[in-house]
Amino acid sequence: MRKELYDLKVRLLGTLIVCIALFFIVAPFQKLSVSLLEGYEKIPGTSKIMEKLIPQGFVENLKEWNFYINSQWFGKNFGQLVPIIGIILGFPLFASETEKGTIQFILARRRRLWVFTTKSIAGLIALLVITAISTLLPSFFSIVIGKQYNHQVIPHFFIHTFFGSMLWYSTSVFFSVIADDQVKPLIASLGLLAATTVLGLLKPLKFLNTFSYALGTDVFRTGKANFTLTVWMATSSVVILLSAMKLFENREF
């Protein structure tokens, strides 16, 4: 496990730094965002366009801290990164070893099941650390700057961000197992994410859009995690990981 965590170190720290930096681009600028939007509304000719783009009362709602930080952090900036974080952590896990030929070094020493389990769990630990820290940021920041914040939504948002990224982590691990180089699993995962998102815009295929889950829309609306969708996300992730394990056990190197 030490080797796997060491291999993940750069990606883990890099992704974490990006998330934290992104948070500090969003969180301290509530007043600026509100005043900018209000300013746009006052420009002659733009108010009609603004009405179409922004729901009524949205700017007013943004003045409320809970609404601002939850919508801008979970519902926009970090939320959009959630599936990509899963892909970033998953795609090189096996493909990198296959591409560099180092997979023989491991497989000559350890059973395939051990190799798969260790690598997958190490990736999941990294995913857990990133999603947990990123989810806790609004809570910590609110305490530091003395803003009133509803901390109870944090575990619910965490469930959505973790399982939302885990699905794409599993998918990229699956592609990583079958690929001979690192480019293919990255492109395949990102392509599938784009395809499911676009197809999910069609009403009958709405279920394909994983972003609505990852952004925590239900937590935002109801204050609670969507239990049914979470079970679906978790089950799908486990099924994809088990399929990847089966493929890895039978793959020739």
Partner: protein
């Protein structure tokens, strides 16, 4: 017996038309150094990968018996280039059962590998030596070396060969499966040799027996005698050197000269290729 390979076949392609390994059988006894020789594409690496479980055989059986497992130096010798030598040894210790880190440090020192250096900064030869040091520090029942001395200078090569030769002595009951294109190396260390061609074992015997079994004869430009095995090794303007079975040559009264492993290897491969072309 450490390893028994029986009628191993490994075919590729949709119609299984590529026969990388085509029904080979051999055994490796405890304490034995067994060399698998053959030209490029003969099936040596595929055989090794089947033994290690990296490739699935099409048919046949592989029986390994031992308590410590198999240690392996692959042809490519790929290690983690972003690691330092120190980290690489620590990683090997984490991943390898029965790994002696102290021994590995000693070998690294003996091979003059700078241990704080990143692997990417090491020469190909140093990386190869590090891979060999990592493998030799593992207690195993079978040590597999696939072209271990590729890219090593003669001094380093001799050190490695000495170490490989010492494996059955230092690790009681351990055996070695060795492949190399450098036949002088094979002659130095092997107990038993198998010559692989087109996925089949063309010849297999104890090294001394094999060299004894064949001999070279010199024929002036005359009609070839009718022998079951006769292959031209080299020719000059006045005479030709042929490799044949010693027993046949002596029966027909030819003057037999010893044949080196290199001569035997070339003759066996040429004969096999000729036969398969005829077939």
């Amino acid at each position: 017996m450490v390893l028994k390979v029986e009628n191993l076949k490994k075919y590729y392609g949709k119609k299984r038309e590529i026969r990388a390994v085509d029904g080979i059988s051999f055994e490796i006894q405890e304490g034995e150094i067994f060399s698998l020789l053959g030209p490029n594409g003969a099936g040596k690496t595929t055989t090794i990968k089947c033994i290690l479980g990296l490739r699935k055989p099409t048919s046949g059986s592989i029986q390994f018996s031992g308590q410590y497992g198999i240690a392996y130096v692959p042809e490519g010798k790929e290690l983690y280039e972003n690691y330092s030598v120190e980290r690489m040894i620590a990683t090997a210790e984490e991943l390898t059962e029965n790994f002696d880190a102290k021994r590995c440090w000693k070998l690294t020192e003996e091979f003059n590998i700078p241990f704080r250096e990143k692997l990417a900064n090491l020469s190909n030869g140093e990386q190869t030596l590090l891979y060999i040091a990592l493998t030799l520090s593992q207690r195993a029942d079978l040590y597999i070396f696939d072209e271990p001395t590729l890219g090593l200078d003669p001094i380093a090569r001799n050190k490695v060969l000495e170490r490989i030769r010492a494996i059955p002595i230092e690790n009681e009951g351990a055996a070695v499966l060795y492949t190399s294109h450098i036949l002088s190396e094979v002659e130095k260390i092997s107990d038993k040799v198998a010559i692989l061609c087109n996925g089949k074992i063309a010849e297999m015997d104890l090294l001394d027996n094999m060299k004894e079994k064949f001999c070279s004869i010199v024929l002036e430009n005359v009609k070839l005698p009718d022998l079951p095995f006769i292959v031209k090794y080299k020719s000059t303007s006045s005479e030709n050197v042929y490799i044949t079975y010693r027993a046949d040559a002596e029966r027909l009264g030819f003057e037999c000269k010893p044949a080196s492993l290199e001569m035997v290897f070339e003759a066996v491969i040429m004969n096999q290729v000729e036969n398969s072309n005829k077939g």
